[in-house]
């Protein structure tokens, strides 16, 4: 590992010195400095709004800084565009991948520089062979002639890293690379990062996931409110989480995933699912289908559903919510059999869903906060003639704004202007306005910064205390453990385990989520 190499430090590859960035009067970055050497993984951490994205945009050539200077490879670095930054040797891999889904892996790797054979035509054979070698560097053994759309997110990410390597990149910046990956995929990515480190590639790892940062990073730079909160060094062992958190939030870590206060015992079973199976979509033959799921959800409890990506947890939520077709099985709500054929049916019955992909499935980006809030309750916010009762609507929003402490300027404000946490609170308010019996939340704190995560957890506990049956799907085990009264684990479309929240621990859950074995239920 690089610890051994620390005795003979390589020259600094990138030095950021006193960078400042103003946006018409607002200071997004103020006097931030950091440096990174070849063969080093530097973690860049900070809550949403800390200035990470601004710094990334400057480094990747999207925009210039207002002040300070950057030295890359011994020379002044001021890229005129992202292409220019790439040419100079800095590649940024964003959460939204930049591969072209309809083209093959090889075409994506060689885009704009396809190998030319005889007669000036593209040499497909060479392209295929070279691509195979390039993706092998990141441990991929897929056929390079596969279209990118057929790959998983994790594989696509690796292809993008491979492409960066083939461009002789000296510094790879990864923006939240693990947020869409399963636990095993994360492990694979981390081991590849470790391999690249040995190849003397410098990696800047931007992440929310502190455990991963702690496991892999040699050093960390933490930003807070656009300023440098501090640098952390590995001192003979991984950088301790409490130290990172304290730097990030400026408060003690014990508050972070603190289990919310004890609550009342759960009530009667509200939602009962038996033998639920979903239809295999002929257009997506590899998609997960539910394979006989039994589940009970009681009033006033939070049921945590833990599973890796592809375990069927989201499919379970969608099936109950009427968003996907059901092949077999029964769903009972308050003792009455239901068969919602659409989300509209499920909503009318008193079920709400906060979907996992906020941007694509929940938010109306072009609209203001008010219409985003009331969209699921248009009936109750309008009179008999179909006219909106805007006064009532605004009052309701004002109530939830206070209850959930949504930080917003006005009801007209574009919802995109809110932070992830506040957007999520608006979506929660959307469902609370309907006073649902059952609320399903899928990855409720994805893309939500550390401070606001706790707030979302507290809200879920409050809702359960009001008698709502809450089903929380999450791939973050600390979150599942902190919030759930009861936990079920899923794997391959089946329930693989069930236990009270207080008896669960990460190891037990991970075993049930990740290992093939006979069902014990």
């Amino acid at each position: 590992m690089s610890l051994a190499e620390a005795s003979s430090p390589s020259p600094i590859l990138l030095a950021v010195e006193g960078i400042t960035k103003h946006f018409s009067g607002v200071t997004a970055l103020s006097d931030v400095s950091l440096d990174i050497r070849p063969g080093e993984i530097l973690g860049l951490l900070g809550e949403n709004g800390a200035g990470k994205s601004t710094l990334l945009k400057i480094l990747s050539g999207v925009m210039p800084p207002s002040g300070g200077r950057i030295i890359f490879d011994g020379a002044d670095y001021h890229p005129s565009s992202p292409q220019d930054a790439k040419r100079l040797g800095i590649v940024t891999i964003y959460q939204e991948l930049s591969l072209i889904p309809t083209l093959t892996v090889a075409e994506n790797i060689f885009i704009g520089r396809a190998p030319i054979g005889r007669f000036g035509l593209v040499s497909w054979r060479r392209m295929e062979q070279e691509s195979r070698a390039i993706i092998a560097r990141v441990g991929l053994s897929i056929d390079p002639m596969t279209p990118v759309s057929a790959l998983s997110v994790a594989e696509q990410q690796l292809v993008e890293i491979a492409r960066a390597l083939s461009l002789k990149s000296r510094l790879i910046i990864m923006d939240e690379p693990t947020s869409a990956l399963t636990e095993t995929e994360v492990q694979r990515l981390l081991s590849i990062m470790d391999r690249l480190r040995k190849d003397k590639v410098a990696i800047m790892f931007v992440t929310h996931r502190l455990e991963e940062a702690s496991a892999i990073c040699d050093r960390m730079t933490v930003l807070r409110d656009g300023r440098l909160a501090g640098h952390l060094d590995r001192e003979g062992g991984p950088i301790a989480l409490p130290k990172i958190i304290e730097k990030m939030v400026g408060r003690a870590a014990s508050e972070l995933y603190a289990r919310p206060a004890q609550r009342a015992a759960a009530g009667d079973v509200v939602l009962s699912v038996r033998g639920l199976r979903t239809v295999r979509d002929p257009e997506a033959p590899h998609a997960i289908v539910l394979d006989g799921v039994d589940i009970d959800l009681k009033a006033g409890e939070i049921l945590g559903v833990a599973g890796l990506v592809g375990s069927g947890r989201t499919e379970l939520a969608r099936a109950i919510f009427g968003a996907d077709r059901i092949a077999a099985g029964t769903i009972t709500l308050d003792g009455i059999k239901i068969a919602p054929a659409s989300p509209a049916d499920a909503i009318a019955l008193g079920i709400g869903l906060v979907p996992e992909d906020r941007k694509h499935q929940a938010i109306f980006a072009a609209l203001g906060i008010l219409p985003n809030f009331s969209i699921a309750s248009l009936g109750s916010f309008s009179n008999g003639f179909g006219f909106m009762a805007e006064r009532r609507e605004r009052d309701a929003l004002a109530g939830f704004r206070k209850m959930l402490s949504i930080r917003m300027a006005s009801a007209e404000q574009a919802i995109e202007g809110l932070s992830g946490g506040n957007q999520q609170k608006v979506i929660l308010a959307r469902w609370l306005a309907r006073d649902p019996k059952v609320l399903i939340v899928d990855e409720p704190t994805r893309g939500v910064d550390v401070g606001a995560k706790t707030e979302v957890h507290q809200i879920l506990v409050q809702l359960a205390a009001r008698g709502i049956a809450v089903m929380m799907i999450s791939s973050e085990l600390p979150e599942v453990l902190a919030v759930s009264d009861r936990i079920v684990t899923m794997r391959r479309g089946r329930i693989t385990g069930q236990m009270p929240g207080v008896e669960a621990n990460e190891e037990r859950l991970m075993e049930l989520m990740a290992l093939d074995r006979k069902e014990t239920l």
Partner: protein
């Protein structure tokens, strides 16, 4: 980035926001000033009312098109549908499809203007509904369905009229195209009333909210319990209804339903909506913008004509204005985002 985003709330760049909502209107005012300076008689009330009469036909369809484009759809069939509905109205009004050019209002066995109007809007709405069903049930993109509709409706028009016009309506029907209430042309009043109605529907009703939501994010709309397909069908019904209404007014004004009526109208209509600031990607736009967009095109055509600019040059100018309007909109949005 939220730090960068927060500046939006402080009003520091409200000027750009203001320009964004009133840009087309400012441009319209500027055009009127320029044309008036060039030729003061441009401001003559007779000319101004002339403009309102001219824009009312495409303006009516543009109102319906606003609904469609708000859902990120498009309807290319409106010009042909207008001709078809006009022909249906003529057949009903005249009681037959003989290509008479008799101007006598007596001796016809028709069913009167009301039946003609009803037939036009019902046929228009039904045709729109069929296209909407094909779009939602068979999952064919609106561009393709309505491109097909464009030729189908033209063919139907030619079939029922044998290629010629059907002319000569009674005075009560013609009043809807040529009449005046005070100094104001009836078509302009119909357009104004329809615009106010559409504005109210989009701005103040739950249906309006649903239209914006479906256009802004169809999947999120579905997961919020909206019946997305029904709403999509409904906007094609609405644009069809307005094509029928516009057809009735146009036939009344010309005292004739022409088989070749409305050719190319879809482009004028879409231009009006887009110049008015409605996004082709859905979810953003307003009726007010569409009215301004329609007026802008009308003023431009009339003003250029007034200054003896050839119709060839006119179409060049209007095309360039369309592109400039959208480019300006884009530029403002990028400024606001910074």
């Amino acid at each position: 980035m939220s730090v960068a985003g927060e500046q939006d709330q402080r009003g520091g760049i409200n000027f750009a926001r203001l320009l964004m909502s009133f840009g087309p209107l400012l441009f319209l005012v500027a055009l009127i000033i320029v044309f008036t300076v060039l030729k003061p008689s441009f401001m003559d009330p007779i000319n101004l009312f002339n403009i309102t009469r001219q824009i009312s036909i495409t303006g009516l369809i543009a109102l319906g098109m606003t609904f469609v484009i708000l859902t990120a759809g498009i309807d290319l069939s409106v010009g042909s549908l207008l001709a078809f509905c006009g022909m249906v109205a003529a057949v009903v009004a005249k009681g037959g499809s003989a290509n008479t050019l008799s101007l006598s209002t007596s001796g016809t066995q028709g069913f009167g203007w009301f039946a003609a109007l009803l037939a036009a809007v019902v046929v228009g709405a039904a045709a729109g509904g069929v296209q909407g069903l094909v779009i939602t049930r068979l999952k064919v993109p609106p561009f393709v369905v309505t491109l097909g509709g464009l030729t189908v409706f033209r063919g139907l028009t030619l079939t029922i009229s044998n290629g010629g016009p059907i002319s000569g309506f009674d005075a009560s029907m013609r009043w809807f195209g040529t009449g005046l209430i005070g100094p104001v042309p009836v078509p302009a009043l119909i357009f104004a009333a329809a615009a106010i109605l559409c504005h109210i529907v989009l701005r103040y009703t739950r249906y309006g909210r649903a239209v914006y939501a479906v256009g802004g994010n169809a999947e999120a709309a579905r997961l919020s319990g909206l019946r997305v397909d029904r709403i999509l069908v409904s906007v094609y019904v609405i644009v069809g209804f307005f094509a029928g209404l516009a057809a009735f007014v146009l036939s009344a004004r010309l005292n004739s339903s022409e088989a070749v009526a409305g050719i190319g109208y879809e482009l004028t209509v879409i231009s009006a909506v887009v110049i008015g600031g409605t996004s082709l990607f859905g979810g953003i736009g307003s009726v007010g913008g569409t009215v301004v967009g329609a007026a802008l095109i009308g003023v431009l055509q009339n003003g250029l004509q007034f200054n003896n600019v050839s119709s060839y040059t006119q179409s060049i100018v209007i095309g360039l204005i369309l592109i400039l309007a959208v480019a300006f909109d884009r530029w403002l949005k990028s400024r606001v985002r910074r």
